[in-house]
């Protein structure tokens, strides 16, 4: 019987395992389906990682390397090339690897499976079904790890960070990136990536546009048609632009990967597609915690690693002592806030401030984020110059101000 099993050896899983180990937890196992640790960071060869955590700018592999080196010095057991097939609410983990099928158990579990990319099917892009259409992350792996050339004339659909990073990457590899096409009137990527990945190389970004047709010749992409859309995403007739190309990269969003969570009976939030979590990253199943992109899609690996620490501390506490909470506060969100993490808070707790993160579904200028208790009394407020969907917003909520008779808090935004 393990004290803790961590599923996934990316930034979330490694950070969680290290923290649990530092806190003195003894029998820790990390399970990873890939043949090495590091997760998605291994293919994110660009820099920009670690500014918060290590106070220096690292590439993805360097960032992962910091954790991998540390974990190799500990007694944490790492099981590579191993797929978790099933998980149940009693914290039994069913695994498959070259040694066969096994059932193992732990006192606590941390889910750190990350997320996966949305595909062409998810947005039903019309057109021919030839080769040359990749998700941006798949293309990134082919290019950065397998050393394949992905294409030479490229159109990128979506302006998420991976798409922007790939625009620069393909340009450096000698490809011509002809356009980045974004259906919204704003980007879902970080502003600095628009600057250093598109503008640096004079790559045009078409806002309020989408791909309305993909044409293939000899079974390979030969051109795309892009069209302007209105505010309701209806295609505007007559706005078509034809772009000859051989490759289409899709950067159209990520979905937390929660098949195992669902198997264990964990309640999933339909908004985040990740588990409903408490302030300590515990899921609806006692003793199963989660962190990183399996919970919600983060902007920064640094924040994933920090969230993982929180989950690990809670898991350590769970293993060593009885839980003693008396009641649960629900965290509600009003539009344009799309969701919050956590969705629930245990009370009473030691901490006076609780981190709450959220995204909005549109761009806001000068505004005030407010938190009200169920009686409608505003208990805290936070000024912001802007809030944009592409950047995860964070506030610290003073739970100490939530009075006993309250059963929920609501987060909302007032624009100036």
């Amino acid at each position: 019987m393990y004290d803790l099993i961590v599923i996934g050896a990316g930034p979330a899983g490694l950070s969680a395992a290290l923290t649990a180990c530092e806190k003195g937890l003894k029998k820790i196992l990390v399970i990873e389906r890939d043949k090495e640790m590091g997760g998605i960071l291994n293919q994110c060869i660009h820099n920009g990682f670690g500014l918060h955590l290590f106070k220096e700018e690292l590439t993805g592999p360097e960032f992962a390397g910091r954790f991998i080196e540390k974990i190799k010095e500990t007694d944490v057991e790492i099981m590579l090339d191993t797929m978790v097939m099933d998980l149940d609410e009693n914290k039994n983990v069913y695994i498959l690897n070259t040694r066969g099928y096994q059932k193992i158990a732990a006192k606590a579990i941390i889910l750190a499976m990350g997320c996966r990319e949305r595909t062409r099917g998810a947005i039903a892009t019309p057109g021919d079904r030839g080769s040359g259409v990749y998700t941006a992350g798949a293309a990134q792996r082919y290019m950065n790890m397998n050393g394949y050339s992905v294409g030479s004339k490229v159109v990128i659909l979506g302006s998420g960070d991976i798409g922007l990073i790939m625009a620069r990457r393909m340009t450096l590899e000698g490809a011509k990136v002809l356009a980045c096409v974004e259906i919204n009137s704003y980007s879902s990527g970080l502003r600095r990536n628009i600057k250093q990945c598109l503008e640096d190389f004079d790559i045009p970004l078409y806002y309020s546009h989408t791909i309305t047709d993909i044409k293939c010749t000899n079974n390979r992409v030969s051109k795309v048609i892009i069209s302007r859309v209105d505010e309701k995403y209806n295609v505007i007739e007559g706005s078509e632009i034809e772009i000859p190309c051989d490759t289409v990269l899709l950067s159209i969003g990520l979905i937390p990967e929660n098949e195992l969570s669902k198997a264990a009976g964990i309640i999933i939030d339909e908004r985040t597609k990740g588990p409903v979590v408490f302030e300590n990253m515990e899921t609806s199943v006692e003793g199963i915690f989660c962190c990183g992109n399996v919970v919600q899609v983060h902007d920064l690996a640094d924040n994933v690693a920090l969230e993982a620490k929180k989950a690990a501390l809670a898991a350590c506490k769970y293993v060593s002592e009885e839980s003693s909470f008396e009641r649960i506060i629900e965290v509600k969100a009003n539009k344009p806030i799309s969701y919050t993490v956590p969705q629930k808070i245990h009370l009473p707790i030691e901490e006076k401030l609780i981190d709450v993160s959220f995204r909005t579904n549109r761009v806001l200028g000068n505004c005030v984020i407010k938190v009200a208790d169920s009686g409608g009394n505003v208990i805290s407020r936070y000024k912001r110059e802007y809030v944009i969907p592409g950047e995860l917003e964070k506030i610290k909520v003073p739970v100490s101000l939530i009075r006993n008779e309250q059963n929920n808090i609501t987060i909302f935004i007032e624009e100036d």
Partner: protein, 114 residues
Amino acid sequence: MIELICIGCPKGCKLLVDENNNYSVTGHSCQIGVEYGRSKILNPTRVLTTIVRIENAIHNSLPVKSSKPLPKDKLIEAAKALKNVVVKAPVKTNEIIVKNILDTGIDIIATRDM
């Protein structure tokens, strides 16, 4: 006035650089913004991150970077120069892969063990 987005960290501050006033910077949240704003106008540079071929390793490609930021207009040329570089495993993080790329005085180094 030249408007810039600082890329020093993910915050992405909107900087204003006054080219008529000794390139003074406003809109920054920290010193990185001041330095970025000035150098961006006077001498734009970027860290190059790319790959080189590697043999006898777990993958076909080894991730590398420039040990310091390169002049922005040399990025594509430098990436091109690295296309024919082949190394053999094992390689350690920070190991120099190409010394003095394009005579810039800057090295290309490995960013992981492989």
